[in-house]
Amino acid sequence: MSLGGFLDDALGVHAQALAFRGARSRVLASNLANADTPGYLARDLSFDAALSGANATLSTVSTHSAHLGTGERTLSTGPALYRYPHQPTLDGNTVETEVEQAKFSRNAVEYQASLTFLNGRINAIRDALTGGAGR
């Protein structure tokens, strides 16, 4: 087993979830920056779409002991969807600052949650490698 594959398995989906939350925070920050731009359409990423994309990732099969694994799994963030505004505006802008702020805050908390999960996994691997002496 290659080390990359081992780490991917050990860290689980959290590494990809972290990358997804990072990408989503950029999309939401774009929305906030364009809160007053005429005609700007607010975008967002769907976690469900990204998750099903991550589950459907194909992996290669090793038929020989000298074969190397394909290594990293790439995260597909899925398509950026358009936000449906609660209140339409005359200038065509669909950013509702309070909605975006709420989503941005929630995304930040979920990012911290992914970080906490990753920290737990990393500590577990370190414990396994050092027999608990690394603490």
């Binding site: 990072g22 925070s25 950029r26 774009s30 920056a33 364009n34 007053d36 731009t37 950026a80 970080l115």
Partner: protein, 139 residues
């Protein structure tokens, strides 16, 4: 690292909103300025925003939509004509021309710009905390 571009995005928003605040204060400062003819009078100005892609990275272009000021729109509302024959700037007919600034409109615009500026600061601070948490990963 993708989170770093949140700084650029929020920065572009703050730059645009601070220019809007500047334009608003120019308008308010000149609200009472007077000229001797219709052409020389101060006219209210307002920035026009447009979306700009900050990086030409193809992975997620909609995640790099910053904002920039495309130009200034000069108000074409008529100047305020007052009959003041004893005013030093009055024209032959005795009229002066005041700036076409609507103070109430400017105050509302100022509040809106300040709020938008704050929400960009908020996004920047949150992204900073997320990055610092990432840097502490595994420690």
């Amino acid at each position: 690292m993708s989170l770093y571009s949140v700084f650029d995005l929020a920065g572009s928003g703050m730059r645009a909103q601070s220019l809007r605040l500047n334009a608003t204060s120019s308008n308010l400062a000149n609200a009472e300025s007077v000229a001797g003819n219709e052409a020389a009078v101060y006219r209210a100005r307002r920035p026009v925003f447009e979306t700009v892609l900050l990086e030409s990275r193809s992975d997620l272009p909609e995640a790099n939509a910053g904002v920039r000021v495309r130009g200034m729109a000069i108000s074409d509302a008529p100047a305020i004509r007052r009959y003041q024959p004893d005013h030093p700037l009055a024209d032959r007919a005795g009229y002066t021309y005041g700036a076409n600034v609507n103070a109430v409109e400017e105050m509302v615009d100022m509040l809106s710009a300040a709020r938008s500026y704050q929400s960009n600061v908020e996004a920047l601070n949150t992204a900073k905390e997320m990055l610092l948490g990432t840097l502490r990963l595994g420690q």
